[in-house]
């Protein structure tokens, strides 16, 4: 594994600067949720954003994709991807980034997949949209990708619907869909929450392996420090819509500076020792 010094020396793929915003629950009045969120994701790193629910980590991830809910209003800051300002893009421009440059895996893959189309169709559709290949070629690549994410009997599985998949299998399919356009940055939003512990471990191993093979940059969003220790080299700690601490994985876990981070680390140790 590379040391943290090497990583921070790399130019950032993703640069979130002073990003703030909230929900316009009543017309003309914005209830703030994110406050000056600032962090960057260096090229080739695996950065984790850690925080409990309500810390704003998932909303930050959705904002990067330009998929924040309709009532969300940005009040400050910007998000740059490879030097391009995502927050200033139109829906049309964002489409050229989504999928091909930045992709995302949501939690609860089974409801994130369309229930009335086969899994194979959905993945192949993404492939055709972003890579402009023929239907046949898209199907071939889908098969290859499902093999890569270790879906057994991929050929048969392709023609099944999401409800015929188990949670772990659906998460692999979701991963295949996110990877098929060969994005440079992959955001994983709580990819293992809700899965059985053993399946969680399998999926995490898979993510680590794929990252090692492709050298892709990843950004893992989780509430679970245990997961972070196994898979990431940089950690961003968030709470209440603010970034509390940023550091290398070792530093955060061994010598947390912020009181909230200390609390978080202590709590997760307690869970582990039980």
């Amino acid at each position: 594994m590379t040391t943290s010094d090497d990583i921070t020396a790399q130019p950032p793929v993703l640069d979130v600067q002073d990003f703030g915003g909230g929900f316009e629950n009543q017309p003309g009045h914005v209830d703030p949720v994110l406050h000056g969120v600032t962090f960057s994701v260096p090229k080739g790193s695996s950065t984790a954003i850690v925080g409990e629910s309500g810390s704003g980590k998932s909303l930050t991830a959705l904002s990067i994709m330009g998929l924040a809910p309709g009532r969300f209003r940005r009040t400050s800051g910007s998000i740059h991807y490879s030097g391009r300002n995502l927050t200033a893009m139109t829906e049309q421009e964002l489409r050229t980034v989504r999928g091909r440059e930045v992709s995302i895996v949501f939690q609860d893959a089974r409801s994130s997949l369309n229930p009335v189309f086969t899994v194979g169709t959905q993945i192949a559709d993404v492939c055709r949209t972003n890579r402009g290949v023929t239907r046949r070629e898209a199907k071939r690549q889908t098969l290859e990708m499902l093999d890569l994410v270790r879906v057994p009997e991929a050929r048969r599985r392709m023609d099944q619907y999401p409800h015929e998949f188990s949670g772990g299998m659906a998460q692999r399919a979701m991963l295949a869909m996110a990877l098929i356009s060969q994005p440079k940055l992959l955001i994983l939003d709580e990819p293992t929450t809700g899965l059985d512990v053993t399946i969680q471990a399998d999926v995490l191993d898979l993510i680590v392996d794929i990252k090692a093979e492709t050298g892709m940059t990843t950004c893992l969003i989780t509430h679970d420090l245990g997961v972070v220790a196994e898979t990431c080299d940089r950690v961003v700690v968030m709470r209440g819509g603010e970034v509390k601490e940023i550091g290398s994985c070792e530093q955060i876990i061994d010598a947390p500076a912020d009181p909230y981070t200390q609390q978080l680390v202590a709590d997760s140790r307690m869970v582990e020792n039980r």
Partner: protein, 357 residues
């Protein structure tokens, strides 16, 4: 009715006979249930009509007829037998395809209904298609542009069609397009007076005329159809538009549409592919209602436009207590309705993957 969906993969060690028996159990039970419903409906109509109504004998003999003539007519029509015997005769007749004779016209009910069927089918079929197409378009547009003035306008329009009485719309359309603008023909039925029907192939005038290469008749038939089809389609348009809108709104808000957007799928592709399919499937759930509204509507609309279909026959029969015709009509509607229900259920299980699990 509850679908008795079978698991797709039968255990491989089960015997062939067992598997066939299992596969047939669902459809068979459903068929039995359907026949039961039809028999129940027909029996209830029979009994209620015999118990509650005025003596139909007045239809045959004048008010001034003597009791003796009345008694004679009753004997002739079989109305003197005890109710249970009449009921038995009625069921026996049904089993042999004999629906009885109209009190009013003296015609056999079966052939009479059958002869009028094509007119109703032609009108009802086009009306359902028009209602579905416009309902889906309006529903999708309202969902995609929800919260905008367009949504408000479409919603207003849809509510309007739900609240306006169908027969009144028909009359007002006639007043505007026939009486005032002279753009469309008056209520003279399927063709203008004096024009001959095309040779029967399907029984539907427009395709028949086209198949015979008779463009003039086809055009005339289409012009006759425009107003009644619009009027009748109003009945299915509103419910379809509402159903599609709410299903589309739900799927546009769903996590799977968010996924599709995150993967860079274009917006039109999301609207007309990813979000529409669940919306269309939801229309199937009101499919039986669609048939019901159209049938009920045809009873109202056919009279207004002089349309020689089953609806008009039924209304005349109802207004003059012509029991055999009413019975035939009930049987026809009940059968159609039950068959449509069963078909839709089969289709739904096939096309909606969530239901076959």
């Amino acid at each position: 009715m509850v679908a008795l969906a079978l698991p797709r993969t039968a255990p491989s060690n089960a015997g062939r006979a067992v598997r066939i028996a299992r596969a047939l159990r669902g459809p068979l039970l459903r068929l039995l249930g359907a026949v039961g419903v039809i028999v129940a409906i027909v029996s209830i109509t029979f009994l209620v009509s015999r118990v509650f109504t005025a003596d139909p004998i007045n239809l045959f003999v004048g008010d001034s007829a003597t009791e003796a003539t009345r008694q004679q007519a009753r004997t002739q029509l079989g109305l003197d037998a005890p109710l249970i015997v009449q009921y038995g005769r009625f069921l026996a007749g049904l089993a042999t395809g004999n629906f009885g004779t109209s009190y009013l016209s003296g015609e056999q009910v079966g052939p009479e209904l059958l002869g009028r069927l094509p007119a109703t089918v032609e009108l009802g079929l086009y009306a359902v298609i028009v209602g579905l197409v416009f309902g889906i378009i309006v529903g999708v547009a309202a969902a995609v542009f929800r919260g905008t003035p367009l949504d408000a306008v479409l919603r207003f329009f849809t509510t309007g069609t739900l609240a306006l009485p169908q027969f009144w719309i028909g009359l007002m359309l006639l007043w505007i397009f026939f009486v005032n603008l002279h753009l469309l023909p008056g209520p003279t039925g399927r063709l203008p007076i004096g024009m001959n029907a095309p040779g029967t192939i399907t029984g539907l005038y427009v395709p028949d005329a086209l198949l015979h290469g008779d463009l003039a008749t086809a055009t005339a038939a289409v012009r006759q159809l425009i107003l009644p089809v619009i009027t009748l389609s109003v009945g299915s348009f509103g419910p379809v538009a509402r159903q599609v809108r709410s299903a589309m709104v739900e799927s546009l808000d769903s996590e799977y549409v968010r996924t599709a957007r995150a993967m860079g799928i274009s917006r039109p592709r999301i609207w007309f592919g990813y979000a529409l399919k669940p919306g269309l499937l939801s229309v199937l759930t009101i499919g039986a209602g669609l048939v019901g509204w159209t049938l009920a509507g045809s009873v109202l609309v056919e009279g207004i436009f002089g349309w020689p279909g089953i609806g008009q026959l039924a209304i005349t029969a109802i207004q003059s207590s012509d029991y055999p015709v009413i019975q035939g009509f009930v049987l026809y509607v009940a059968t159609l309705y039950v068959v449509i229900w069963a078909l839709l259920e089969l289709v739904y299980v096939r096309v909606d993957p969530r239901r076959s699990a």
